[in-house]
């Protein structure tokens, strides 16, 4: 049983990294949002599996929150926003797909090297989980850096949060306080973002962050 529980946890955490990669090269917003929903779904499964093998029922709550908010509510809401704004067109990137993917691979390798070496004494399950979680966080950061569009930056931010949830559930027995707070903060963050997107649309008729960058307080 020990072997199986480890393998499934490993598979799911690895799956999360894979979906992170898939997010990196989506160049349409709606496809990106679908990928994010998939990301959250894999996270849900992973958290639920952790709840099962750690016999920690409170983690099911975290899994449920991930499922309801991140896999269903948020993608639907963002879909509506981009439909209302009429931006299904291609999203621009600063770095090309190939370079981004190579960078992403480098980041995954980096997180493996760093985490596996540092946590040599920790139990293997937590080790692998942390390494994958760091990879997901770094890939989320990469996405935020390479994207210019406000919606895709938000998606990048949320996949960072997913990575953090993975890390928190992998750390056995971490108090509930933290998981709830993570979910809660994502919610708050989303409200904030919602307000911002609303205002940005109102003021600029675009959600392209590059348009915001025109205003550098000190030019002129």
């Amino acid at each position: 049983m020990r072997g199986l529980s480890f393998d499934v946890a490993h598979l799911l955490a690895g799956g999360l990294v894979l979906v992170s990669f898939m997010q990196l090269y989506q160049d349409r917003l709606s496809a990106l949002l679908n990928m994010f929903a998939l990301h959250a779904l894999v996270l849900t499964l992973s958290v639920a599996w952790q709840a099962y093998i750690q016999d920690a029922p409170h983690l099911y709550v975290t899994a449920l929150i991930a499922l309801v908010f991140k896999a269903i509510v948020i993608p639907i809401a963002l879909h509506r926003i981009i439909v209302r704004l009429g931006i299904h067109r291609e999203i621009d990137k600063v770095v090309g797909v190939g370079a981004t993917m190579l960078l992403g691979m480098g980041l995954v390798a980096l997180s493996m090297v760093v985490m596996l070496r540092v946590t040599a004494d920790a139990d293997p399950l937590a080790r692998e989980d942390l390494a994958f979680a760091l990879a997901v966080v770094l890939l989320g950061l990469l996405m935020m850096v390479t994207r210019r569009n406000a919606v895709s930056q938000v998606v990048g931010f949320m996949s960072i949060e997913n990575g953090l949830v993975l890390a928190a559930t992998g750390a056995k027995g971490m108090p509930l306080v933290v998981e709830i707070s993570i979910a809660f903060s994502v919610l708050i963050a989303f409200i904030v973002i919602g307000i911002f997107l609303f205002r940005i649309r109102e003021r600029f008729d675009t959600v392209d962050v590059q348009a915001l960058d025109r205003f550098r307080g000190e030019r002129s």
Binding site: A120, A126, E161, L164, M174, S181, S185, A189, V192, R199
Partner: protein, 481 residues
């Protein structure tokens, strides 16, 4: 409750209750007063912590270190609320803010006070993280409150960089828990700071090191350390000035305080890497970078924002050097900087209102047109530049001399950075305060009390520090290791 009055709960409950009340009440004159009253009550509750210290629980803790910061935070929170009352009067008159937004503004102000107090008083590293995230989100909303292009850009940038920082900090927090779990056991106790620091010697040093790197980058973003500072000048320049004062004077301190707590963990573990060199490097980079950037500023609030980066660099450097003397200097500098910088922003807020602009080129001769404001700014800049006899001179002098004794090369860099910044500040001050009078010069409807009371404290601290306070700081400096 068995106790009739619990000051530890009071510093949290008063702002939280006030936030709810202020969100519900219309009428800005009354709510502005209520805001001041709530801030005053919080400050008094914080003061009472000196005399009656409650037991530490799994969530809350008051010790010598955070007591100072709680009192400082609530004091500056109170004076800023007084300044804010006269500031927003003017903003309403010229129509930059509407009464609806004002209600939101006041409620958010109290939420921010609540979040900062919670971050300081938390004994739980998870709770501390939540509080700092709450403070970040609140300030993001406040920075964007004018809803101009620039304000939205500033708020967006702040939001993105702030959340990346906060994400890295959470990862670091999780790693600390992972390091603590084998020694302390699963669950809540392994996130309680007092347990952590008591058992830190048994933690896995490699994991602890890695955790500190993430925490340094994460909370360092919130402190505004150099490669991660990009949000800071925009957020300061585009938000309402009371928020700039609170950001510079308090929120940066709170983030640095969080970092100090973790530094103490590493110091308690003999096998962990010394966090000093990392902090010294980041501090020096911030100091020198910000000093040079000061020369190119054309916007007055932006200039003082860079000056905040510079001073945060100095403080981080001081704690990185470590030892009783440098820590003492760092603590003193934190206190003096937050008092001085908020006083400067009080002055700048009214100046920008009088002149109708934040551009340095369009304001000059302030000591002639608005002597009270102008001279207030002059004193503030003299203080922030580190000239004797004001408080910042004391702390910088202590820091430089203790660094010279231990790492002369670093001291040379430190002095270089301070001097470069010094030159820039006086270059600008000269034209703002003494040049040909320019721009409108209407009398400011300002309350000068907050500004001058801060400057008076800084002045007195530069000349005479009561032995009790010196003792207190020395104790805390020893705690920091």
């Amino acid at each position: 409750m068995t106790m009739p009055f619990d000051p530890m709960a009071a510093v949290l409950v008063i702002p939280a209750a006030a936030a709810a009340l202020l969100a519900a009440l219309p009428g800005y004159r009354m709510t502005a007063r209520l805001n001041v009253l709530a801030a005053l009550l919080t400050f008094l509750a914080a003061l009472s912590l000196f005399f009656e210290r409650p037991e530490a629980g799994p969530y809350l803790l008051v010790d010598d270190l955070n007591n100072v910061f709680i009192v400082l935070t609530t004091f500056v929170g109170f004076t800023t609320s007084v300044f804010s009352a006269s500031y927003i009067d003017h903003e309403l008159e010229i129509g930059r803010l509407t009464p609806t937004f004002l209600r939101f503004y006041h409620a958010m102000y109290q939420v921010l006070m609540f979040a900062m107090n919670l971050a300081l008083i938390a004994n739980n590293i998870g709770l501390m993280w939540v509080a700092i995230e709450l403070a970040t989100l609140t300030t993001v909303l406040m920075v964007g409150i004018y809803r101009t292009h620039e304000a939205l850009e500033a708020a967006w940038k702040y939001f993105i960089l702030g959340s990346v920082g906060i994400a890295l900090a959470l990862f670091g927090t999780i790693l600390v828990y992972m390091a603590a779990r084998p020694a302390i056991g699963e669950g809540l106790p392994a996130m309680v700071w007092t347990n952590l620091v008591a058992r830190a010697g048994e933690f896995d040093p490699a994991l602890l090191n890695l955790a500190f790197v993430f925490l340094l980058l994460g909370y360092g973003t919130k402190v505004g350390l150099a490669p991660l500072h990009a949000w800071l000048p925009d957020a300061h320049a585009e938000g309402p000035t009371p928020i700039s004062a609170v950001l510079s004077g308090l929120l940066l301190n709170v983030a640095l305080y969080a970092l100090l707590r973790f530094k103490m963990l590493l110091a308690a573990n003999p096998y962990a890497v010394a966090p000093g060199p990392l902090m010294v490097t980041l501090g020096l980079i911030s100091l020198i970078f910000a000093s040079f950037m000061l020369y190119r500023r054309r916007d007055i609030k932006r200039m003082f924002a860079y000056s905040s980066i510079e001073h945060m660099g100095i403080i981080t450097f001081a704690f990185g050097i470590g030892g009783p003397l440098a820590n003492f200097a760092g603590l003193l500098h934190m206190t003096m900087h937050s008092l001085t910088k908020s006083a400067i922003f009080f002055a700048v807020g009214h100046i920008a209102q009088v002149k109708g602009t934040q551009k340095i080129a369009e304001m000059s001769g302030l000591t002639v047109t608005n002597p009270v404001l102008g001279w207030g700014l002059v004193i503030g800049v003299i203080a922030i530049a580190g000239l004797p006899p004001l408080g910042i001179f004391m702390s910088e002098f202590l820091l430089v001399s203790s660094t010279f004794a231990r790492e002369p090369w670093l001291a040379i860099l430190l002095v270089f950075g301070i001097l470069v910044g010094f030159g820039a500040l006086f270059l600008r001050l000269n034209s703002i305060a003494f040049g040909e009078p320019r721009g409108p010069s209407a009398e400011a409807k300002a309350s000068y009390l907050p500004m001058y009371s801060h400057l008076a404290i800084v002045f007195v601290a530069g000349i005479y520090m009561p032995p009790a306070i010196v003792m207190w700081f020395q104790n805390v400096a020893k705690l920091l290791g």
